[in-house]
């Protein structure tokens, strides 16, 4: 049941953004900035690209997704709920005691979560392990892994990148949510990021750059990744942190902060236009 209409996908992404704001508002905790920046990416993956069935979340031959930047769980939970993995009402319990929707995704608590994540830099190695396993079994699964641009500070990302290219994991597609900001400041003030593309190219990746908020551009990028044989792909998706809520866009202060009532109302109003 793949959705191909660009307008329909845009609407889903917008709904996911509303869910993100609501989750974080009700929890009074969470990470709206990075969640909003990856909403379009998740929409295209779950509604247009991945071979998955929410009725069979553990099906063997399914495609896998690893949210390596686990703090963007509000976006993943909203996507999974909208896709039908669980009741959307559960989103209201995000980060509350007794809820299965933990601050960072727990694969044993939430159907559709393929890997527990949270400590940055680890998810790509898990995705490499999955892609290797699929190759060993000729299972034909594609493995997607979303990483943050701040996350590539972690050395383990580059260890995993080397293993991915050495093993010619063309069933692995990494997406880099390139919103340019991390918790403290912009990524270029922390490490020299001017050549993220060059870095991954030199690590043996097929590098595709695209507009991470343009649905057609994302679909083209994912389709192109499928056809590349003999090497892993990384899609460098140019995004805006806080995308969709004017006062959150490109604001570091919204990395891990919940909106108050006024801000919540204003955000929901903007997203309802």
């Amino acid at each position: 049941m793949k959705i191909t209409s660009i307008d329909a996908l845009k609407k889903i992404a917008n709904d996911i953004r509303k869910d993100i704001i609501e989750e974080v508002y009700l929890a009074q905790s969470g990470h709206p900035g990075g969640s909003l920046s990856c909403a379009d990416i998740l929409t295209v993956l779950y509604f247009n690209q991945m071979n998955i069935n929410p009725q069979k979340p553990d099906a063997e031959g399914r495609d896998r997704f690893v949210l390596s930047k686990g703090h963007c769980s509000p976006a993943l939970y909203a996507t999974l709920a909208r896709k039908g993995y669980f009741d959307k009402e559960l989103l209201k319990t995000f980060r509350k005691i007794g809820s299965n929707l933990q601050g960072h995704p727990d694969m044993n608590k939430v159907p559709g979560v393929d890997m527990t994540t949270g400590s940055l830099g680890q998810g790509l190695s898990s995705a490499v392990g999955m892609a290797l396993a699929s190759k060993m079994d000729s299972a034909g699964c594609r493995v997607y892994c979303l990483i943050g641009d701040g996350e590539i500070d972690e050395g383990q990302i580059w260890e995993a990148a080397m293993t991915a290219s050495k093993n010619e994991l063309d069933n692995l597609c990494v997406i880099l949510d390139n919103n340019g900001l991390q918790l403290e400041t912009s990524i270029d003030e922390i490490v020299e990021p001017s050549s993220i593309s060059d870095k991954f190219m030199s690590f043996g990746f097929n590098v595709i750059e695209c507009d991470g908020h343009n649905i057609s551009s994302l679909i083209d990028a994912f389709n192109s990744a499928r056809t590349k044989k003999g090497m892993p792909t990384i899609i460098i998706a140019k995004t805006v942190k806080g995308k969709g809520v004017s006062f959150m866009e490109n604001q570091i202060s919204w990395h891990g902060k919940a909106p108050n009532e006024d801000e919540y109302n204003k955000a929901m109003e903007e997203l309802s236009k």
Binding site: S119, Q122, S125, G129, E159
Partner: protein, 313 residues
């Protein structure tokens, strides 16, 4: 105890090779140390199920957890220092917390690594792994037990840490010896003292048992091969039945076997416990035998303690 000596890492390598034959889901990952950890035996036989990730232990753990989600049974192996300390957070967040079926096998544990010195002598691994929820911690004492353990942990669905040694130590058990995870092995019924030992110190405790017999002391040795879950019942039973409780381990006295025994006894049968192990310090270079003597974790140190007490009795 036989004259024959085998290092538990060698037994591990041989057992893995056998397990690979029986279980096609077993995948082995090493970090550029396959010749030392003996996973090279598996690698030679099953090259399609062996991955050398290079000197990238963090990545090794991650790849293993990913493989396990596909039903593979990954055994990762490197020196204990790098298999646990170097990757503690990877194990904590991506193996123990999601309870994934990854077997972490740390060879070259303890001061008996010898000449390589403190950086390579892992004395805190039991402490680190024991503190993680969902983790089973095994520390084997001889060839027979290690081969049993490799097979047995492959049947557990969940994370396991297996602690192995570099040096060759005597083969203690007969081929038909039965073991059970979580159950210690009591050797002898002496009541003068119980010596709880694990890993390379079990054969030292058995040597001490013999030496003490000549001097008129009858002690029992308990091989605690499973540090977690620990055999509470047996520990309490021994405390009730014997005059003295001694623990001995090639590990820091903080957080290892001695601590685990103390925790049980403090709660269930308060008893004085004398802990032999590496005091609150790092290891140093030297020959394994000299280091065991220096740190008082050999047969002589145990004998001395039983005969003379610790001066505080």
């Amino acid at each position: 105890m036989r004259e024959e000596k085998i290092a538990t890492r060698q037994s591990f390598g041989e057992a893995l090779e056998k397990l690979g034959e029986e279980n096609k889901n077993v995948v082995v990952i090493d970090a550029d140390l396959a010749k030392s950890t003996k996973t090279s035996l598996f690698a030679k036989k099953f090259p399609d199920r062996f991955i050398d990730v290079g000197i990238a232990e963090q990545n090794m753990i991650g790849i293993a957890d990913g493989l396990s989600t596909f039903g593979k049974v990954p055994f990762v192996s490197t020196f204990a220092a790098f298999a646990t300390g170097r990757v503690y957070d990877q194990i904590r967040c991506s193996v123990a917390y999601p309870k994934l079926n990854v077997k972490i096998c740390g060879t070259h544990a303890g001061v008996t690594v010898g000449e390589d010195g403190a950086t390579h002598q892992m004395l805190e691994d039991i402490n680190l792994m024991r503190g993680l929820p969902n983790m089973t911690v095994i520390s084997t004492s001889d060839d027979v037990q290690t081969k049993w353990a490799v097979e047995e942990i492959s049947k557990i669905d969940g994370p396991v840490y297996l602690r192995l040694a570099r040096i060759a130590t005597p083969v203690i058990y007969e081929e038909n010896q039965k073991f059970e995870i979580g159950k210690g092995v009591q050797i002898g019924n002496g009541t003068d003292a119980t010596i709880f030992a694990t890993g390379v110190t079990v054969s030292e405790a058995l040597k001490a048992q013999e030496l003490l017999k000549e001097r008129g002391f009858d002690v029992r040795v308990v091989d605690i091969h499973t540090i977690k879950p620990i055999d509470r019942e047996l520990i309490v039973k021994c405390a009730k039945e014997t005059d003295k409780i001694i623990t001995v381990e090639d590990h820091s006295i903080i957080g290892g076997l001695g601590t685990a025994v103390c925790e049980v006894l403090a709660e269930e049968y308060p008893t004085k416990v004398i802990r032999l192990g590496i005091p609150d310090c790092f290891g140093k270079s030297g020959k394994a035998a000299d280091l065991m003597k220096y740190f008082r974790i050999d047969a002589q140190a145990i004998c001395q303690l039983v005969v003379n007490g610790d001066g505080e009795n």
